[in-house]
Symmetry: C2
Subunit: 334 residues, 2 copies
DNA sequence: ATGAAAGCGCTAACAT
DNA sequence: ATGTTAGCGCTTTCAT
């Protein structure tokens, strides 16, 4: 492998000049720059990442903790991951992937100076990783919103507003009894940030509009969906509207409604909180509130880079939800 | 951050002794080892990854190029990724995530010495990355099987055998006219390694058993599945058995069969080639040939690590497919 | 506008 | 069994 010294020699300059050509941190005369670039090209020179990190304390790598816990939909996770990786490349960074949800991994990559910054997904209300993250010298962004985000930057869809929006929409369309078919029980039990927030927003929206409601968690399986739908119909027989926040259960919920003879949207309106492509891949195109994973992943990178640059304070950004009406809802005749 | 020098001082030894305690590359007396470990613990010392990489030419990072592109089922991809990351951690490595459309990514991380080894997923028959990979000094393992794997190690499910196995099973159960509902058209068109091989094996299996057959690609949408099923039933009305190799289309294929009044397995038997959890998450548990993604990902890491150690030659490993009979097939009455 | 030189923190000969 | 020392390949003062 060619080193910076080889390049310098070939271009008839010093190593530091090559370094400055590469970094742009000082002005270089046009002819010099040209010779250096020429030399770099012909030698196929690439700076050694480790040497660079050692000398500059910058790795140009972002750590991404994407735990693949049970109950979370991997395809949704991947949209966030894609957003992070894509935006990271835009700002000349690579991504180191951590999938274990232990704080050991965080400390290893952070204290070992493997990464410049860290993005953490799948945050819980009282996430045990928070104290660890607060202690790191690398800036951190959470995708999600814990109880106490003090000192940490956060970004996410405003899931509370999304839950409320779903409820309010159903209320406005004339439904008086609705249900939230939510995340799998284990996700709820962990108090995964987004699950908690959707429930809270949904309840508030219903209460504000005097709409009766029930909330049921839902296993992402055919049987789980059957049980959830049956539970709703048993506990609250007058239910005519559903907010479903569970990508994998969605097809089964729809299938079971059909099986029980409930027409959508005639007998039961459905508002899905899910990525748009999921809403469009169902048996009928669903009215939905998009989860813009790629966007959010990209914003997470922007935020973390901003904090890397200056000494910006931590900040929380919640993306406003947007509802797109499709074939699974319709104004109710009175 | 504490350095190795700090630790050495605290333990009353030289830096190299600390290094050797950490690496185990020479024997250390029990008392010395204890003092060093004590110092490491109290100082919270972590070796600087860059410094280590610079001095040792080892990063303890594996590069993983994973597809985040259209047509591939991300949940299947994630199983492979999980296998890679999990096994990598077992052998004390981290994973740097590269995406397919990051064309220069391989050269960047390889020439920049960011990774010790590379695992590449979603390989095409004539993958344009092959020449690049052959030129790298880091060992590489492909998950998939290109036309000409010369010089590169490969590991994958034996998809050709899987395609054949599906066909043969249907033949043995008495079907005389069968169909393969395959990968999405764009995956076929790219000649993605696994798609090609399934088709080839399926055809061979049918031919060997004198079974008539058709092959249709299938968009992973409700409409796509409808079109695929309709095409099969139009072109080959006597079709009674289906091999489906398309995770996302699977539920829609089953739904459309039901809609057209075809009972499974009575009127149409279905053998799915997909991860077992996908086969079990359908409306009825499917007879399936498992795609053991985690296993294969782990094996990929083992292979690449083996090549890192010694100077093993490149090798190709194909995992034999196994069919598990469930509710979607049944011996045919004659 | 460019060069010289001092590290960055570690590993691995080479000593003893 | 342990210490000494020469780099690994960069970045970045400090000079000029």
């Amino acid at each position: 492998m060619a080193t910076i010294e080889d390049v310098a020699k070939a271009a008839g300059v010093s190593a530091s000049t090559v370094s400055y050509v590469l970094s742009g941190k000082r002005s270089i005369s046009a002819p010099t720059r040209r010779r250096v670039e020429q030399a770099i090209a012909t030698l196929g020179y690439r700076p050694h990442a480790g040497a660079r990190a050692l000398a500059s304390s910058r790795t140009n790598v972002i750590g991404l903790m994407a735990p693949l816990r049970s109950g979370v939909d991997v395809s949704v996770v991947m949209q966030f991951v894609t957003g992070v990786v894509t935006r990271a490349r835009d700002v000349d960074h690579d991504v180191l992937l951590l999938t274990q949800d232990d704080s050991g991994g965080l400390e290893r990559v952070a204290a070992g100076s493997m990464v410049d910054a860290i993005v953490v997904m799948d945050v819980e209300a009282d996430d045990p990783r928070l104290p660890v993250l607060r202690a790191l010298r690398q800036p951190t962004v959470l995708i999600g919103l814990p109880h106490d985000p003090a000192g940490l930057s956060c970004v996410d869809l405003d899931f509370e507003a999304a839950g409320r929006l779903g409820a309010v929409r159903l209320a406005q369309e004339g439904h008086r009894q609705v249900a939230l078919v939510g995340s799998p029980p284990e996700v709820m039990d962990r108090h995964t940030s987004y699950a908690d927030r959707v429930v809270r927003g949904f309840r508030q929206g219903c209460d504000e509009h005097g709409v009766r409601h029930v909330v049921v968690p839902c296993e992402p399986t055919p049987d789980g969906a059957r049980r959830a739908v049956d539970a709703v119909l048993a506990d609250a027989p007058g239910t005519t509207g559903l907010v479903v926040h569970n990508e994998r259960a969605l097809p089964h919920v729809l299938a079971h409604l059909a099986e029980r003879g409930h027409d959508v949207p005639g007998d039961a309106a459905v508002v899905a909180i899910c990525p748009t492509d999921v809403a469009l891949a169902q048996r009928l195109p669903l009215t939905s509130i998009d989860i813009p994973g790629e966007l959010i992943g990209g914003v997470a990178v922007d935020m973390v880079m901003a904090r890397l640059g200056g000494d910006q304070p931590a900040e929380t950004r919640l993306i406003a939800p947007e509802l797109t009406a499709r074939a699974s809802t319709a104004a109710r005749e009175v």
